[in-house]
Assembly symmetry: C2
């Protein structure tokens, strides 16, 4: 069953209208924006696999670590990352809780997101394939998340209805306050529900991003592009976008060690069918990087058709991993171009690195994901 | 550019409403329905490649045929097929004209569809990758087709806007007049524009079916399924569907000689990206077979995830082919189940065969595509 459609309608007709509420939202202050140094930093936390906290043991750690290890090590790692990186925004890309081992989904979610909530840094989350295995359904989990403090998560957009999944939304990141771009979104963030498992007879394996979600993504991307390329300060092409979801796309399998940064230590657990979201993103042209979790032992980024496909690597301690191979997190930083009048313009570059949960939170695999002046593909925005 | 969105809208919001006109359309007589013998027969004509008629020479025919061969041989073949099979409906799956060699697109289209128009049999067409190469754009070609006599072709649905392409529509086939199913669509036909060529930087090759079209397909499929499973005579699952378009899906490459019927004499010229339409059809669950053209030397049907992927084989004489390997057409027949009261019920089986343009219009490769009582997959409707 691809979509839930109101049962009394024979023909569902979609009308194009201007929603006044949505329009007026444009006049509200940007909830996310670049800082005074022309930088916006995102911390990605993948697969926390939170259970019940202190009572929930760790998996795949060294024998010396095992006795004292629990979900609280996951909590401590989130806190250390926040202190070390001081991100502007935190994204949790699913399997936030490991539902089978969480006695109470709401409490487990609150504990898992606790350090983010306490930091007063805005944060967002999407669902993985394990979040619904406790006392709340996928819809219930997403609705609970949306009600937590400091989150910018949303359940679903009003623009496309019906839409598959729970947790499809986008966020705009405004230019520096006081700069010419303070009222324009210069960086766009997309969040999607990649599902849990196939419910289609004859197709086994993990879920996928459906046509309804892709239609919403393309509509949203087209609208953002139009706004960015319109007055005031009309730009020549779309603002760069980043997409966050849980399950890697089939296209993550297209790389070998010669063309990615990071490691691939297990298979790519994408769905067994291709639902076309990679193609939809290439069509729309604004997304420069995709960030997923799901495969804890893979942490690479590889570029295909101008889009970086990136894993974060496993973060949580109550999740399969590899003893001696540290848990890790991914950081993404976008930097603005300095303008000739000493102010800030649009995004100049997007970089990434990872940090390991070792004594020094060692940073590894720093790389440029996108640059306004890069040659090749359709990234030439000079 | 994935979609054309009205430029004055910042946020496009799609609303679910009941369109009275669409609803009342249900009360109009079915334009297509099964005949008194409980049968509905569709003739598929792929790749006519019509040019200017008598002056346009043939390609890849035997030296003995060359001197007297022109587009008129294509016309004669359409006429012979109509006389031999007496189809209830004719579908032209694109490259109806070979635009480069058609001086006047409108005239070429009228000549190409001439035998169908003259037969008074309802017909429909979709676009290929060559139809727009003459004096009309893709939109112009589709609009011209829609205005021709006896066609049930439509430009685009009102349900999803914006939608990519021109020629996305569906047709319902009603049960036998006077039977209990006379006001139910027991067979659903989908027509889609598979595009011409990629317009996306970095992606070469042929076009593909976009997310907007798939969203429309899934909405339509869900609505048809709901109506079929509702009173009166609520059915247990969706009515079978058939999909017609020009360019084969990437999944056509999944077969080898051991699991298809017919021949594969050239590569599968699908787009170089997978846009997910096969997955969308498997999700919706009603489409039992897909019929394309485009590769003139392939004429096979193979089944994957319960969906038959079928070529028709090349039909037109001003099109590449293989000398000595006859031009051909595909026929599909759906038969209804006889009910205990001596009337007709829902679709029992869907069969196909091809006919060659030889002296006897030899029929080959007869096979059952779907049967209500077939075991395996989700086809068990008993």
């Amino acid at each position: 069953m691809p979509m839930a459609v109101p049962s009394t309608l024979y023909l569902v007709v979609l009308f194009l209208v201007i929603l006044p509420a949505a329009k007026s939202q444009r006049n509200q202050p940007m909830r996310l924006r670049f800082g005074k140094k022309g930088e916006f930093k995102i911390l990605q936390v993948a697969d926390m696999h939170y259970g019940d906290g202190k009572a929930t043991p760790c998996e795949d750690v060294l024998p010396s670590q095992l006795a004292s290890c629990s979900d609280l090590n996951t909590t401590a790692f989130v806190r250390r990352m926040i202190l070390a990186e001081k991100p502007d925004f935190i994204v949790f890309t699913g399997d936030n809780i490991f539902g089978f081992d969480a006695t109470d989904a709401a409490k487990s979610l609150e504990a898992a997101f606790g350090p983010a909530i306490a930091s007063n840094i805005p944060w967002a989350a999407v669902l993985g394939n394990h979040d619904q295995e406790s006392t709340l359904s996928r819809e219930g989990v997403m609705k609970h998340i949306v009600g937590l403090k400091n989150t910018l998560s949303r359940v679903n957009p009003s623009e496309v209805n019906p839409i598959d999944g729970f947790g499809n939304y986008n966020l705009e990141v405004g230019g520096v306050q006081g700069s010419a771009f303070q009222n324009k979104s210069v960086l766009n963030l997309y969040f999607l529900d990649s599902g849990d498992y196939s419910t289609v007879p004859g197709i086994f394996g993990y879920g996928w991003i459906k046509a309804s979600q892709q239609f919403w993504f393309q509509l949203t991307s087209a609208n953002l592009k139009r706004a960015y390329m319109s007055k005031p300060l009309p730009q020549k092409s779309a603002a760069p976008g980043l997409a966050y979801f849980h399950i890697p796309l089939p296209e993550f399998s297209r790389f070998d060690a010669s063309n990615y940064t990071g490691v691939r230590q297990e298979g790519i657990s994408s769905p067994t069918v291709n639902s076309g979201f990679f193609t939809s993103m290439v069509e729309s042209g604004d997304v420069k990087a995709v960030f997923t979790g799901h495969d804890h032992l893979n942490d690479f980024c590889g570029a295909l058709n101008g889009i970086n496909l990136c894993y974060a690597g496993g973060f949580g301690y109550h999740a399969y991993g590899k003893a001696g191979w540290p848990r890790r997190a991914r950081v993404v930083v976008a930097n603005l171009e300095a303008t000739s009048n000493g102010n800030w313009g649009t995004v100049k570059s997007i970089r990434t690195w990872k940090r390991l949960d070792d004594e020094h939170l060692t940073a590894i695999d720093a790389q440029v994901l996108w640059s306004k002046t890069s040659v090749g593909g359709h990234d030439i925005n000079v």
